[in-house]
């Protein structure tokens, strides 16, 4: 089944579970994902949405919106998470494992590492003070060879 969905939510931490739930439900409707794959999708979505809340909007309540877009084809799920916050100055550095600008808040610096490992494609687009867009693609039934 081909399909798409667009979800707009405020950048509040309780929406982390809401966003991953909606994406998981959308994915299940569109494809025959395994429980393990669904859990990977949920985890990757959680990372991107959490980053928007913490980093893009700096945990301010009453701040910006997050847009979650899902797109499905018979063999793939594409999820894009967009914020309109501070942006990422150095994307290459941000994607490095363990790199975090908020170590004092017990961030592990593993968000991008998880997104990369749990999904099959990851594209980060960002401009300072404009926002960040995280595009992730997962292929159905692709046995991961490592």
């Amino acid at each position: 089944m081909n399909g798409w969905v667009e979800l707009r939510i405020p950048a509040l931490s309780q929406n982390e579970s809401f966003a991953r739930m909606v994406v998981a439900f959308f994915a299940l409707q569109a494809g025959d994902w395994s429980v393990a794959e669904l859990n990977e999708i949920k985890t990757a979505v959680s990372e991107a949405v959490t980053n928007a809340i913490i980093h893009a909007y700096e945990d301010n309540l009453d701040t910006g919106d997050i847009v979650v877009q899902g797109q499905a084809t018979p063999g793939t799920l594409e999820v894009t998470i967009t914020d309109f916050g501070r942006g990422i100055a150095d994307i290459v550095r941000a994607r490095e494992p363990l790199f975090t600008t908020k170590a004092h808040e017990e961030r592990s610096g593993l968000g991008f590492t998880v997104m990369e490992n749990f999904m099959d494609e990851l594209t980060v687009t960002s401009s300072p003070r404009q926002g960040t867009s995280i595009r992730m693609v997962k292929y159905l039934n692709l046995t991961t060879v490592q």
């Binding site: 393990a36 990372e47 017990e106 593993l110 968000g111």
Partner: protein, 119 residues
Amino acid sequence: MGFSTRYRGNILVVSLSGELDHHTADELRQTVEKELDKDIARHILLDLSQLVFMDSSGVGVLLGRYRRILAQGGKMAAYSLHPHLEHLYEVAALSKVIPAFASENLAVNELKKDEGLRR
């Protein structure tokens, strides 16, 4: 997410359930910190059998507790890892710092291993 705490000797056992993410991390952090402040626990043991979701924010809060318990000379372990957490455990290399065992007793044995030497 839910959790309960109990003591098994000098081990603080924390049973987690539900979903551990940035939103629920704070609650866990505060609960464990309050217990550690009581100075009863030398080690921390996590029961992860009912924790069906965790992301890197969860990893952050677990590592935070690990650092404190390590600083006071203790260790941290987990048991009955829910299948949903396996990939994260691997990607975050968590086994190195919070090894996961098949049962509570196996984990306890590991935590107590070096203690006998000092008795």
